[in-house]
């Protein structure tokens, strides 16, 4: 087992375990924390894949931004001590079945597929390249999506504000 494999397995173990915990934990704040672990380990995977920049984004935006957002909202809407009610079995079983069958199907199909065996480049992706790509408007340039996502974020912001605005009475 190479160190890479080891690291991968470690991360994936963390991811899988904490994912499951995220969706089963009865304390909501813990669940959020577990989610954070999952996201951080994912960032670890990105590091492993030599996508340092992406890993950084994952850490800051995802783990940092979204999880914080979630935690804030938890604090706004729930009592920390409160235990979440568990779902009824009538709900769990079908869900579990679907998830299991779906996962099995996907895994079987994935394993059957004959991916080209090319070994990926192990080079670290250059942040300059990323930046250039992001503002380039040619093939494989991402200037346009970049603009679009800004509109999206703006719209989301407006939407969130409109909804969360307090009523003026």
């Amino acid at each position: 087992m190479t160190s890479n494999q080891f690291m991968f397995l470690l991360f994936s173990a963390v991811i899988v375990i904490f994912s499951i915990l995220t969706v089963t934990s009865r304390r909501i704040l813990r669940a959020a924390t577990f989610l954070l672990f999952v996201l951080v380990s994912t960032a670890g995977l990105y590091f492993l894949l030599k996508y340092n920049f992406l890993a950084a984004i994952q850490l800051t935006l995802y783990a940092g931004g979204i999880v914080v957002l979630i935690i804030f909202s938890i604090l706004l809407t729930s009592h920390i001590a409160e235990k979440l009610p568990t779902a009824s079995l009538m709900k769990k079983w079908p869900a579990a079945m679907v998830a299991l069958v779906g996962a099995a199907l996907c895994i079987v199909v994935i394993l059957q597929y004959n991916f080209p065996g090319s070994v990926g480049s192990t080079e670290l992706v250059n942040v300059t390249d990323i930046g250039e790509n992001l503002i380039s408007y040619g093939r494989h340039g991402y200037a346009l999506p970049f603009e679009v996502i800004s509109v999206l974020l703006l719209a989301a912001m407006i939407g969130a504000i409109v909804l969360a605005k307090k009523r003026k009475d």
Partner: protein, 105 residues
């Protein structure tokens, strides 16, 4: 295969994570926990893109950029969702998804 880690490992991992997310989405009653499940789902997809990009098609960074944009969209989605959740909480002091069934049949 990436430095000894086969592609399929990544894919299996992401698939498992994806369906764990789906499972969570289907059973968690609290809206915020459901939102977390969504994040799991999106995260698993990100892993797919990144893994494909790195291991199979490293010449361009399409997968990676896709991941970046997914993260951004996830953030936007989460913000709107949370705004709605908070709005609901203000109205009925409850964010149990099972209570959200005023409209049916």
């Amino acid at each position: 295969m990436f430095e000894g880690v086969p592609l399929s490992w990544f894919l299996i991992l992401s698939t498992v994570m994806f369906f764990v997310g789906v499972y969570g989405f289907l059973v968690r009653k609290n809206l915020i926990t459901m939102l977390m499940s969504i994040e799991l789902i999106l995260n698993s997809v990100c892993i797919n893109f990144v893994a494909f990009n790195k291991i199979l098609f490293p010449e361009h960074m399409e997968g990676m950029f896709f991941t970046i944009f997914i993260i951004a969209v996830a953030a936007a989605e989460a913000s709107v969702a949370i705004a709605i959740i908070i709005n609901i909480y203000r109205r009925i002091v409850n964010i149990d998804v099972e209570k959200m069934d005023e409209m049916k049949y």
